[in-house]
């Protein structure tokens, strides 16, 4: 039912700092989510190497049979990616919105250490609101 299955945030070294599962299937193992995040970080980098045109910024959208993966990389190297239903529109805007929430509620939190896992209550609350709003507008279409 949900358009989004899960959300990952990785730091500039490829380590997972945030993972949220919205799918109906059981949560993925923590270790598995860490491995997948690192794997994605490496794939993102390799895809830049294989570009025929200079100036490649890495994978933005991966289309598979049963899901789509949208990725947004900020200028600082932090990557935000969502696993969603195939053909979901408007994920880029959602990712940019999540980036804004990250800058507001995580980076400006004085107790947050850079590159560490995110444990910020305000970020969780606002993120849940943003996802809910997106879900409502998705169902409304």
């Amino acid at each position: 039912m949900a358009a989004i299955y899960s959300l990952y945030i990785i730091n500039k070294s490829g380590g997972l700092i945030f993972y949220k599962d919205y799918g109906l299937q059981g949560r993925m193992d923590t270790n598995d989510s860490l491995r997948l995040a690192s794997l994605w970080h490496s794939m993102h980098a390799i895809s830049q190497q294989l570009s025929p045109i200079p100036g490649c910024a890495g994978i933005e959208l991966l289309e598979a049979d049963t899901f789509d993966l949208h990725c947004f990389q900020s200028l600082t190297g932090t990557k935000f990616f969502v696993v969603s239903e195939p053909g979901t529109q408007n994920m880029e805007n959602l990712l940019k919105h999540i980036y804004e929430l990250y800058t507001d509620y995580v980076l400006k939190n004085p107790f947050y250490e850079m590159e560490m896992p995110i444990r910020c209550e305000l970020f969780d609350i606002n993120l849940a609101q943003a996802i809910q709003k997106d879900r409502v507008s998705y169902l409304g279409r």
Partner: protein, 201 residues
Amino acid sequence: MQFFGGSEISPSPPVPTASGNNAHMMYIFNRNGVCLLYREWNRPLRTLDSNQDHKLMFGLLFSLKSLTAKMDPSSTEKGNLGVPQLPGQGCSFHSFRTNTYKLSFMESPSGIKIILVTHPKASDLRESLKYIYNLYVEYVVKNPLYTPGTPIRSVENLIDFNFHYTIGPEASYSTQLLTNMCEVSDDLAQVSLLQHLVYNG
């Protein structure tokens, strides 16, 4: 996905877009990672030598398939990450897009991987990939002189020219193409067959 649709090549090749020059490169790999075919039409940036490049491409695809099989939200039972998957087992991706290129991928049940690197605005190329696979079957696999697992040489095989005609940069009836073919092969029989292919599609 239907691979064995009949003995003829898929009757309607994909409609070429108005402006040619959509494709940058094409790779065909077998299941062991041997690059059977590599064609490039437009590649301004080359970061590695061709051997490294093929290995990197194959490695990227192998790892991405492993990632998508694990990340698949619909299957409940998944193997561990990195377990070698049979072709067709587990969820596989069919394309990814960056800001400078789009890579379309198809794997046949026998493990033949066909990759097309195109402009990022290109539409879904799965039909084109299936068409290329049909060409591969008709002209390469059925060629008695071809040894499986070795790179495809364009003099022996017509896949190169047929592809060049359909969705490569010269996607139009082109006498230039015929001239090129004549330069490569003096064999009149081959040329007449190629002529037939170009004009009758």
